[in-house]
Symmetry: C2
Subunit: 237 residues, 2 copies
Amino acid sequence: MNLILLYTSDFISPHLVRLTDRRFHHMRSVHQAQVGEAFKVGVLDGLVGQGKVSALSDDYIELQVQLDQAPPKPLPLHLIMALPRPKMLKRTLETAATLGVKDLWLINSYRVDKSYWSTPILKADKTREHLLLGLEQAGDTRLPRVHLRKRFKPFVEDELPALARNTRALVAHPYDAAPCPDPEASPTTLAIGPEGGFIAYEVEKLQEAGLESIHLGRRILRVETAVPVLLSRLFPL
Amino acid sequence: MNLILLYTSDFISPHLVRLTDRRFHHMRSVHQAQVGEAFKVGVLDGLVGQGKVSALSDDYIELQVQLDQAPPKPLPLHLIMALPRPKMLKRTLETAATLGVKDLWLINSYRVDKSYWSTPILKADKTREHLLLGLEQAGDTRLPRVHLRKRFKPFVEDELPALARNTRALVAHPYDAAPCPDPEASPTTLAIGPEGGFIAYEVEKLQEAGLESIHLGRRILRVETAVPVLLSRLFPL
């Protein structure tokens, strides 16, 4: 936790929060918080600032907060990913949130195992938990939106063309592909396939929706490595 | 397994290998290999090419191999990392191998928990196993060398200056730091701290050894995210 995320329900007066949950336990046991000590805090979907410990008991911690900074800039990105297997999904949610992704579409694909769609991680509160961990890591406050699309074709035909329009629209697909373009802070749509890649039919449909194939060189990366590699190549710091 | 790694001991004649272990089981159950089918193969620390299934039984698979390509280029990098906790170490070994790291120093640091040094993953055969997985993922054959340095000071004072000399020598440390430099295929030495970062004394010693502090922007990344992000920023594809 490089930032303690606060919710409006934590405020017991305009500048005072009281925490009793995971955050309280973490601050007490991991950070060994002391009265007077200051921590980086941020309000969910709001400003970032400082929280000074004003009271500490066995049951709660209170922080006097001052919020005066904008959170880090979001990536101007629609990230579209074939649903990864559950273990990788967890890490991908956290990494995407840490790196500043704000719009994530998890879509079906031929190589996505049907069972992946019934993982509890896709339940809204579980998904949110992993996204929050990613925000706390990065020091960000803006919660990403996750959109689930269990059918490939309707998504790619009916929604994707509008998302891709007027953006750098790319699909990471190593065959017949252009090299990854240079970093640029411009609106981007990026699709990443499952392990084993999108099948030819899917790549064709993605291209019809306006996406151009790009590759990352000769090495084949796992999805969880491809995400940070692609995002660091496509956007400036 | 995007590449099947072969060892000289697999060869039963100059162009024929017989596999009976994990690779055989993986080819049979995951790839559902058939006689006549071709797979990407490579000899450990050697060439890459094609292996055509010439025989398949309940106990082994035989491949007729043709090796005619160099493996992907290694990164011209000395990567120095504070030893991560075991779970992260596994993934870091795999990711580093996948991304083309060939020289990895795992060093001690104030924030490295002593217990991390006794993880079985640091046993040579276990370390090697994770590195091989990383190579198989990337389609590479050149095994990285892992150097363990359980004492920070002797490493930084006696070894690091020689490693850093005539290289881009950098430490990822977000305070008083320059922005990450542009991609360049030049010899590089890069140090990455533990979760929580190197302490001030350590940063000072690393700077004395010739390393310059660089940062990756405002977001704070986990070590396993920082590695792919830094390597993709520092080197061209």
